[in-house]
Amino acid sequence: MPQLLLELFSEEIPARMQGNAARDLERMARDGLAKAGLISEGLKAFAGPRRLTLVVEGLPVAQSDVAEEMKGPRVGSPDQALDGFLRKTGLTRDQLVERDGLYFGVVRKTGRPTAEIIAELVEQIVRGFAWPKSMTWGAGKLRWVRPLQRILCVFNREIVPLEIDGIVAGDLSEGHRFLSETRVFRARDFDEYHEALAGHFVVLDVEERKQRILEGARTLCFARGLELVEDEGLLEEVAGLAEWPTPILGDMDPAFLDLPPEVIRTSMRTHQKYFAVRKPGEPGLAPHFLVVANIEAPDGGKAIAAGNAKVLSARLSDARFFWDEDRLGDNFGRWLKKLEGVTFHAKLGTMAERVERIAALAREIAPLVGADPDKAALAARLCKADLASDMVGEFPELQGVMGGYYANAEPFPLEGGRVGMGVAASAGSSTGRAPSGTTSTPIPDPSPHQGEGSRAEIADAIRDHYRPQGPGDAVPTAPLSVAVALADKLDTLVGFFAIDEKPTGSKDPFALRRAALGVIRTVLSGNFRVPLNSTLAAALFGLVYNRGKVFSVLWRFEDGGIATTGIGAWEDLFSDRAVGLSAEHLGAEGRGWDESQQEYDGLSPRAVVSDLVAFLADRLKVALKDQGKRGDLVDAVFALGDDDLVRIVARVEALSGFLATEDGTNLLQGYKRAVNILKAEEKKPSALPTGAPSRAAAPAEEGALFDALTAAGPKLDAALAAEDFTGAMTALAALRGPVDAFFEKVLVNSDVAAERDNRLRLLQLVRDAMGRVADFSLVAG
């Protein structure tokens, strides 16, 4: 069957766009052909530095003919109508048939040649291609990612006649820019094309290019007793930068090995697109690099290796300059000062303000995760400082990592007493401590924590507080790191929720979903007991406090009243009557009233916190679903209003185990039946009977249920108090038999009012007992 080969040959296509371009080309071709009724046996697209190629196997030479019956005028219509129909269809009178008093004619449409359709489709593809960025060139109007030079388009070994903005399609293509002697070659089908490309030093398939790089690189390294530091993203990129990728091992001046390995690797990767190399089994890097060239040079790549080594030296000299400069003098103090001029978000203040909030929050969280509050506050205060360092300015991806190194290196002023002169200390503490009355308190003297152990802990916390940075990244585990990591993420979440920048649909510009999942994973992996409501409330209070620059905040109540609430009493603000902050009074007692306080007018702390808890619940649901847990069980547990993630997950797990047993499923049915009866009763004008049921002498099943409930109560109490949720489920399981028997033998809706009331009271007890474990009404099934 005939084959289509299309190549769009251009100037160098950015590496990052090639993968999508191949996928788009494949999709557009498949859709276009299908729309024309042309079904192929197979279709594949390739993308490389200078070409997009499409091969479609097994296309018909033409569309199939179609016969279509068309309805004509009524029999006996005037001749004019009939003539019109004949003209329109190109038929003659005797080709028409009469049916149901109407004329019908069958029109045969000959299928169009596939080549014609291809010509139109290629033009559509070229003109409609969705490059992330495209351009015009010369005097033309056509848009492509870079100037389009040639179109090769052959179908069934024939050139498809087509022309787009002066580019006439042919059967010519070009080989490698430097290695191919003749450059131009002719191809009439994919085999010829593929073979010619290989002969002209072009590897068409990106997977083959990657393979060639990896194998070549590994061989070169192995021969020198080295090992490649593999990097999938970099491999993908360099495979998009060379048509004839040729790995070359170069030497790096070993003097640079005193730089942190992350710095060397990042410099190699981002500036030069080199792979790093190490000695197997040894820490750090080896003094070499692996560059992927686009040519095989007659000198074996010596000149290329030497040239690249020189550039790398210049790059690493720059890095060393940053490394040296960054470690001078009161570096952290200098950086913290600079953060005062860096805006985090227009509505959330400067980075310095954010740092204050994180430090205050870290202090709150520290005791919950077994960390020292003062150390946590200090680590938090220092955790963003490296953003102002030269090195992180150059390599943003080294944030945290550099802070960790710098905190470990002299002259981090642990020994010197005070860090960050002039940086306002946060008093957004919710421990009830009165504010000091000044916002320029220097960071407390950290001397009590002096010592290398403390320094290392703080450095690790600075380094790890961004973690986990993605689903594959490890969570922080050291208590100090956990405190800072949680404070960082919770401040982000609370801040953006408070200014109503919540993620919607696929949009999550501030990566709040990632932050939420990071909180969940960190808390769960360490079994940390962090009550979400009060912690989020503390974070929110810290935000308002810190942005409002006030010492007490005034809250507006439902009845229009306004109350002053001092720091430390933020729990009161979540009383049912408090509906929002009051801008008119915000700042009245503090200094430095400014416009920013307007942002909090009418902010409802309760709404922010409950929205955030719901957001976290949602993320938890997603995370648990990935582990095969049911989302409805998470809802059933969250409905209890618990805000302790560890306890919630323990409940979900126990519940999940219980519902997998026969007792569990049966009891669930019994529960639903009970609830339905109670709901029906609740709709009646007569209220549900209140009070405790009494033990009925008869029927026996009613008495037995009373006994079972009486026995289960204390067991449930004990198990729940001990957070033994499996035990709680076992206690519930004991109800299953009596509940089943009760429904089987006892008619709730007795004619005797006293009997009926007692039975309804029993059912309420069942509902309440089970409701202490989970909201079973939200469980599906």
């Binding site: 160098e12 060139w137 990612v145 030079q149 030069q272 686009n294 040519i295 000149a303 690249n308 550039v311």
Partner: protein
Amino acid sequence: MRLNQYWGDQGCVILQPHDEQVGAGTLHPATVLRALGPKAWNAAYVQPSRRPGDGRYGENPNRLQHYYQYQVILKPNPANMQDLYLGSLRAIGLDLKLHDIRFVEDDWENPTVGAWGLGWEVWCDGMEVSQYTYFQQVGGLDVSPVAGELTYGLERLAMHVFGVDNVYDLPFNDPASPLGAVSYGEVFLENERQHSEANFHGYTVETLKRHFEDMEREVPLMLARSYQNKALVLPAYDMVLKASHLFNLMNARGAIAVAERASYIGRIRDLCKLCAQAWVDQQEEAA
């Protein structure tokens, strides 16, 4: 010299540097203004470029606050412009079978003149030796036909050709000259030192600011004047260049807060747009 010879042979007008202080060869009116309008234009020239913030007191082997760019502008860009460019590398002695030349995505933009384009940095053995751009907009106006721009960092290229690691070691005359060898450092090192100090600490911020505001006021006034029915675009554009350099100096002096930066850039861009529009109007009237 060899680049002049080469591009002259390709039919380019060989120009001299523009005598205003500019941050890049692109800002020469032969590029910014001539890129606009329907007329074909092919030119090449050397342009001394000043980047006040890049001063390193002569202590960095390849960072300078004053250096030379070689600039080529081809409008409309010929279809074989990449080949012409590679030819120029051969012309200055690069063996393209021995050295690894790469076109690496780099989309150029210069917000102060409202210009952007798509193209590449050209790498030779991992070193950026040129910037290659197809202009799409200048002064906020579409560039049609498209102009192709090549910018060569002359010091870097020379370092590569001479195999020198430090820019100040570059020979500046024939080392065998009877008058004695002169290095780049002997010519420029003291210049770098003094200007670095002036850029970072020397200039009086208030004066720079006042001059900037003077230029800002003068540009529209100049454009309102005309000679032989043509607005005085060229003198006005020179004042835009002055404003742009004053901004760079203020920036190096640390006198511009992060939040102000965008507004200054916007002010320069607005001035540049006025000139660009006036230029295009003149071009279209003439055509």
